[in-house]
Each structure stands twice: as structure tokens, then as C-alpha cells.
Symmetry: C2
Subunit: 205 residues, 2 copies
């Protein structure tokens, strides 16, 4: 598929989850004048990738995209995060990142994050590699997984213990997603290393 078609389909996918109209976003992203935009959409409808409403994907359009899901707290961003997210993005076409809610973050890290879930969402959304950042749903991560319907769930090198929990949860919602374990090419840049350098009090950043 051409880059421009991939971009149109990806944007429609992201906008459908975000409940936004994709038209102007696509025109801006692809820098298309109206007539060329209309031709492209017509072409994608003929190929049965886009619905007649011109703004949503058909099942075939949706299946043509490989969606990768990753997650974390992201109270700050360090270079190790960038490497992990870049590696996750390479596994597919669209990278969706879920930030833990404030309550879940406390459970995960035994510390209240400095930044609210909305601030952490904005932080992750500011990364070029991330197509969409969502705030997780409390107590049931599979609600979010079912909403995103990824083909691939990418776990960071320090999230490996969650693998079985995730494969079993996916089975329950009848989602055929692969779990990918990412190696960190920069272990010296993990949060635990930052903790070591800056003292125990930084644990959880």
C-alpha cells in the first residue's frame, strides 16, 4: 500500500477511537487539495477499504492496518522510553499507547505520579512515534484492549511478567493478538537506573 493510503486509513482508525471527524486532519496531514482528497477517498471506497460515509474503515480497511498497543505510567519520558516505543512502532503501522490511570499507577509503582493522567497522556501524545495515546480504564485493562483491538501487544523489557496475564485476557475477549517482548537497547536508561542515580526517592518516575 502507498504511504498516502496508509496515512488516510491510519488517521481514520485513530479518529474513530477519538470520536473525531478525520477529514480535515487527513487533508492537512497529506497536504491534499480537495479534488485530490476526494479522488483518493473514492478510490479507497472502490477498494472496499473505506465505508460510504467517507470517514470510517471497512473491516478490510481495518484489517489492512497492523495496530500495536503499548502501555505504561510515563510520569516523565527518558531515552529508554523512546527506544522501546520506536521498537514497538516498527512492529506495525499504528502505535497506540495506554497510560495507566492515576489509581492504577499508584498500584503499579507504589507512589502517586507527579503528573495527572491527563498530563501524562499529553506528554506521550507529544511524541512523533505515537499515533494515539489513551488513558486506561480502571480495573480492567481488557476494556481498553477490546476498544483498540490491536494485532500486537508490545511489552517493555521490564513488563515481561505480565505476558501470561495478557494472553489469557485476550482469549477471554476473543482477540487474536500476539504479545511481543521488546528488549531495551538502553538498559542504562531505565527508570530503575534513574532511581539508582538520583536516589531511592525517585522510584516510579
Amino acid at each position: 500500500m502507498k504511504l498516502i493510503e496508509k496515512t488516510i486509513l491510519s488517521t481514520m482508525y485513530v479518529c474513530e477511537i477519538n470520536e473525531k471527524n478525520p477529514t480535515d486532519i487527513i487533508k492537512k496531514k497529506c497536504m491534499l487539495p480537495d479534488n485530490q482528497f476526494n479522488d483518493k477517498i473514492k478510490e479507497l471506497i472502490e477498494k472496499n477499504m473505506v465505508n460510504e460515509d467517507r470517514i470510517t474503515l471497512t473491516e478490510m480497511g481495518r484489517d489492512s492496518l497492523r495496530i500495536v498497543l503499548a502501555g505504561g505510567v510515563f510520569d516523565i519520558i527518558h531515552p529508554g522510553h523512546i527506544h522501546t516505543l520506536n521498537a514497538a512502532k516498527l512492529l506495525g503501522d499504528v502505535l497506540v499507547v495506554v497510560v495507566a490511570t492515576d489509581n492504577t499507577a499508584v498500584k503499579m509503582k507504589k507512589r502517586t505520579p507527579i503528573h495527572s493522567q491527563e498530563q501524562r497522556q499529553e506528554l506521550v501524545n507529544s511524541l512523533e512515534v505515537v499515533d494515539l495515546c489513551l488513558i486506561g480504564q480502571e480495573n480492567d485493562i481488557f476494556k481498553t484492549v477490546n476498544h483498540v483491538k490491536p494485532q500486537i501487544i508490545a511489552l517493555g523489557y521490564d513488563q515481561i511478567h505480565q505476558e501470561r496475564y495478557i494472553t489469557e485476557g485476550c482469549k477471554k475477549i476473543k482477540l487474536n493478538a500476539k504479545v511481543a517482548r521488546l528488549q531495551s537497547p538502553m538498559p542504562e536508561s531505565s527508570s530503575s537506573k534513574i532511581e539508582k542515580e538520583y536516589g531511592e526517592s525517585i522510584h516510579g518516575i
Copy 2:
């Protein structure tokens, strides 16, 4: 100017500093097929914005872009950085960020950064709002300023003491740049707040 022209000119500016050929980057960014790309470049040469070499800007092309320069250590990225950089970007068309060298960072923060200058450059380059991130030059920030030739130098709310130093340095290199002082809309997200939350040992993050 149209978005597509702005994008072509901005990319040429960035590539000239980076010593890269902009052709393929522009084609990808603007999703232009070869014939449309050639027409656009021809048009910009006729408008005296692009040189006959098809890859560099004329003085007029360069002057049509408002370049904003910002700087810092950026050992990690927190939401306050994003707000400051977004505000800086709004002042112009191209946002160039200079990260302090490891030696300068030690002088500024009285602490060795966890991440090397190359890692910090990559971190800042991963932000969508940043068009170009450079590593500063030791002992003379005005070498970098003269290289970038910004119309606007944006200082973060905690860098205000540097204003006179910068205006005087610009005079010496005969650069007519305005200094903009950015207010942080999120003072609760500054490094000093992070220090307060996580203990004194985090100072400098």
C-alpha cells in the same frame, strides 16, 4: 503561504543545517509523487524562494521562515517542557532546540546528566513539535546561534536571567533576534517541583 510550501522550505532549512539532502524527505513528508514535487520546486524557484540547485533556500526563502531557537539540558522530558516548547513553536514556523553539551550541563546544573548529549538530542528530536535538535557548542553558545540564525530566541520561565547576556551576544554577531520570555502555564511541572516531590537528589533532571 500554503502549508505545503512552508513544509518544503522548512525541510530545506533543516536539511541545510543537518547537511542532508532534502529531496526524499520532502517527498515523503508532503506525500508528493515525482511530477508534483518537480512542479512545486519549479514554482518555488520562479518565486525566488529556492536556488537553482533545487535543495537550498535563497535569502528570500530563508527570510520567509520565522526560526525560533530554544535551549536546555533535557535529561528527561516532563509535561512542563512540552508546554514551553509548544509555546515557543507558536512564535514561528520552525523550532530549533539546542541541548547543552555534557560539560555545559554540569556547569548549569552542578550535576552530571544521566544521559549523554547524544541521548538527550535523540530524546528532544523525538518530540513532534521540534523540527531540529542540535547539540550546543562548548564555551560559545553564539556559534550555534550564528549557525541557526533565529529571528526569535525563546527563554523558558526559569531562564530569564540570561536575557541580557543573549541580547548582547546577538549584537556582537550582528544578529537581529528578538528574545521572547515564555511563561510556564504549568509551574507545578517544573524540574524544581520534581525535585521537591522526589527529594533533593533529583535536582537537575
